[in-house]
C-alpha cells in the first residue's frame, strides 16, 4: 500500500505534464495500459522516449518532444511532387528518400509520357503509403477514398508526433477547426498539413497549430483551441 501511495504522488506530479527521459521509472507494472514511449522492465514501467508523461486512470504514455516520421504501409500523408518520369511521379514526403507514385495507382488514365499534364513539380497531393519495400523505398497510391491532388492552398509542417493531438479524439478537434475557420484541411501522418481557405481562416489554423505545438502537454488543448476559434470567429 505504501508503494502505491508513493506512486500516486508521482502520478499526480507528472500527469500535469512532467518531462521524462529514457530510462526514467514512471510506475509499476499493474493495471495501467502502456502506450507510446513506455515499456515494462522487470516489474517497473520505464519511459523509453524523451517527452511529456501523460497518465490517466487507465493508461500511461509519453508525448515525444521530438521524433521522426518513418513511412508505414497504410499511412495517409501529404506529398509534394519533386520530379516525374513518363510513368511515375516522385514525391517529397518529408523523409530524405522521398516516395514514388506510379500512374496505375491514380484514378486517372495517364498516357505514357504525359504525367506532367496531370501533376507537375510543386503540386501537392493527399496520398497513402501502398508499400515500403526491403530497402525502404516507398510506393504511394492515390486510389482510395479522399485521396486526391490538392490545388492551391498551402502546406504547413508540425512534428509528426503531434498529429494525433491536432486531430483529437475521433477527429473531434480537427472537425471543430474546419467548422470554425471554414478551411479545407488535410492532415498527413508525416506532419504535413494542407490548408486552403480565406486568408483569415488560414491564419487561425496557424494559430491553432501554434497552440498545440507550443504546449502539447498541457491539458485542455481542445479548450484552448475552441477559445482561439471563438476569438477569431467573432472578429
Amino acid at each position: 500500500m505504501m508503494m502505491r501511495a508513493q506512486d500516486d504522488d508521482i502520478t499526480h506530479d507528472r500527469s500535469s505534464g512532467g518531462l521524462v527521459l529514457p530510462g526514467d521509472r514512471v510506475g509499476c507494472v499493474g493495471p495501467l495500459r502502456t502506450g507510446n514511449g513506455v515499456m515494462a522492465d522487470e516489474g517497473d514501467l520505464i519511459a523509453t522516449q524523451m517527452g511529456i508523461l501523460i497518465r490517466s486512470d487507465r493508461s500511461v504514455h509519453v508525448i515525444p518532444m521530438k521524433g521522426r516520421y518513418l513511412p508505414g504501409k497504410g499511412d495517409f500523408l501529404i506529398g509534394i511532387v519533386k520530379d516525374h518520369t513518363p510513368s511515375r511521379w516522385f514525391f517529397d514526403i518529408s523523409t530524405p528518400q522521398g516516395a514514388r507514385l506510379h500512374t496505375s495507382d491514380t484514378p486517372w488514365t495517364v498516357d505514357f509520357g504525359r504525367t506532367g499534364e496531370y501533376m507537375n513539380v510543386g503540386d501537392v497531393a493527399y496520398l497513402m503509403v501502398k508499400e515500403v519495400d526491403d530497402i525502404g523505398r516507398v510506393d504511394l497510391t492515390m486510389k482510395g477514398p479522399g485521396l486526391r491532388k490538392l490545388s492551391s492552398g498551402q502546406v504547413m509542417a508540425i512534428m509528426p508526433s503531434l498529429v494525433p493531438r491536432v486531430i483529437g479524439r475521433n477527429g473531434s478537434l480537427i472537425a471543430a477547426v474546419k467548422r470554425g475557420t471554414g478551411c479545407r484541411i488535410f492532415m498527413g501522418k508525416n506532419g504535413w498539413i494542407w490548408v486552403d481557405g480565406e486568408a483569415a481562416g488560414i491564419e487561425t489554423v496557424r494559430r491553432v497549430l501554434d497552440a498545440v505545438v507550443e504546449r502539447p502537454h498541457v491539458g485542455g488543448v481542445s479548450e484552448r483551441v475552441l477559445e482561439i476559434l471563438g476569438e477569431d470567429g467573432g472578429a
Binding site: 508513493q6 508521482i10 512532467g18 518531462l19 527521459l21 529514457p22 530510462g23 526514467d24 521509472r25 514511449g37 515499456m39 522492465d41 520505464i46 523509453t48 522516449q49 524523451m50 517527452g51 515525444p64 518532444m65 521530438k66 521524433g67 521522426r68 518513418l70 523523409t95 530524405p96 528518400q97 526491403d134 530497402i135 525502404g136 508526433s161
Partner: protein
C-alpha cells in the same frame, strides 16, 4: 564522501575521486535530428545524430533491427601535433565500441532496416574523449527523440603512482599506469563500455570499477540536467555561461562536485 589522496595531490589539484568540470548542452545544431555538445576538462566534442533513416549508400541492413553506426572523428587541430585528416586504427576502434555501447541503449528492434548515424567530432582532445563522446552521444540520441532503454553515462578511471584516480587528465593518462573507461546504463546498472590498458592489481580492479560506476551516476545527473534545461524544465543545480558560447540563449551546466549528487532512481520515486 571521503576525499582520498589529497595529501599526494594530482597535477591539476583535483582529489582522487574528482571529475574535471563538465559542461553539457543538448539540441545545439539545426540540421541534425539530435545533437549535444560537451566540454569535459579541455575536451570539446560535438555529437550529431541522424535517424532512424534509410541510408543513401548501399548498406547491409538488419531486417530485425536498426543499425547504430557511430563515427568518431578527430579534427586535425584537436591535438598538439596536427592530426592527418581521415580515419585511423584508433578512431575505427573507438567508433566500434561506441556503436556497440549505444546499441545497448537504443530500442533498435523498433526500427528494422534503418540506420541511426551518430557522428562524433572531437574539436579538442584532452584525455577521456571516448567517455565524453559516449556521454554526449546518448544525450544526442535522446534529443533526437529515439526510443531508448536509458541514457549511457561514462567516465574513465586511471592508476597513477599506484593510486586509483577518477577521470585521468592528459598527463595522468600519458604517464600513469593504467586507464579504464567505464560506461553504464544507469537505469539498469548494466555496463556497456569497458576497456582497460596498463596494470591494475587484483584488489584494485574491483575498486576501480566501483569508482567508475559511481562516477557514471554523477555524470548521469548532468545528462538529465542538460535535457531538462533544453526542454524548458530546469532543474540544474548551478548554471553558468559556457566558454564556447553562443548556443542561442542556452545556459550551461557546471558540474558541482561538492554537492552530493541525488541518486536519480530514488529521487524519481520520492
Amino acid at each position: 564522501m571521503a576525499t582520498r589522496g589529497a595529501e599526494q595531490g594530482r597535477t591539476d589539484g583535483r582529489s582522487d575521486d574528482e571529475i574535471r568540470p563538465v559542461r553539457l548542452h543538448a539540441g545545439v545544431l539545426n540540421n541534425a535530428h539530435g545533437s549535444a555538445y560537451i566540454e569535459w576538462g579541455k575536451n570539446k566534442i560535438m555529437v550529431g545524430v541522424y535517424g532512424p533513416r534509410r541510408p543513401s549508400r548501399q548498406e547491409p541492413l538488419r531486417s530485425d533491427r536498426a543499425l547504430v553506426r557511430c563515427t568518431y572523428n578527430m579534427a586535425p587541430f584537436s591535438v598538439s601535433d596536427r592530426k592527418r585528416p581521415g580515419r585511423d586504427r584508433r578512431s575505427l576502434e573507438i567508433s566500434k565500441v561506441l556503436s556497440e555501447a549505444l546499441t545497448n541503449a537504443v530500442l533498435v528492434e523498433r526500427f528494422p532496416r534503418t540506420v541511426i548515424d551518430v557522428n562524433v567530432e572531437v574539436l579538442e582532445a584532452d584525455a577521456g574523449t571516448r567517455c565524453a563522446a559516449l556521454t554526449a552521444a546518448s544525450v544526442a540520441l535522446a534529443d533526437a527523440g529515439l526510443q531508448m532503454r536509458g541514457l549511457v553515462s561514462a567516465c574513465a578511471v586511471g592508476v597513477v603512482d599506484g593510486r586509483i584516480v577518477l577521470d585521468p587528465s592528459r598527463d595522468e593518462d600519458n604517464f600513469g599506469d593504467g586507464d579504464m573507461p567505464v560506461g553504464i546504463l544507469p537505469s539498469s546498472g548494466e555496463i556497456v563500455l569497458l576497456q582497460m590498458d596498463g596494470a591494475l592489481g587484483p584488489d584494485q580492479f574491483g575498486e576501480a570499477l566501483d569508482l567508475g560506476v559511481e562516477a557514471c551516476r554523477r555524470i548521469h545527473v548532468l545528462q538529465r540536467d542538460a535535457l531538462f534545461v533544453r526542454y524548458g524544465q530546469e532543474r540544474a543545480s548551478r548554471i553558468e555561461k559556457p566558454h564556447f558560447s553562443g548556443y542561442g540563449d542556452m545556459d550551461t551546466i557546471i558540474m558541482d562536485d561538492e554537492a552530493d549528487p541525488p541518486v536519480w532512481g530514488e529521487e524519481a520515486i520520492r
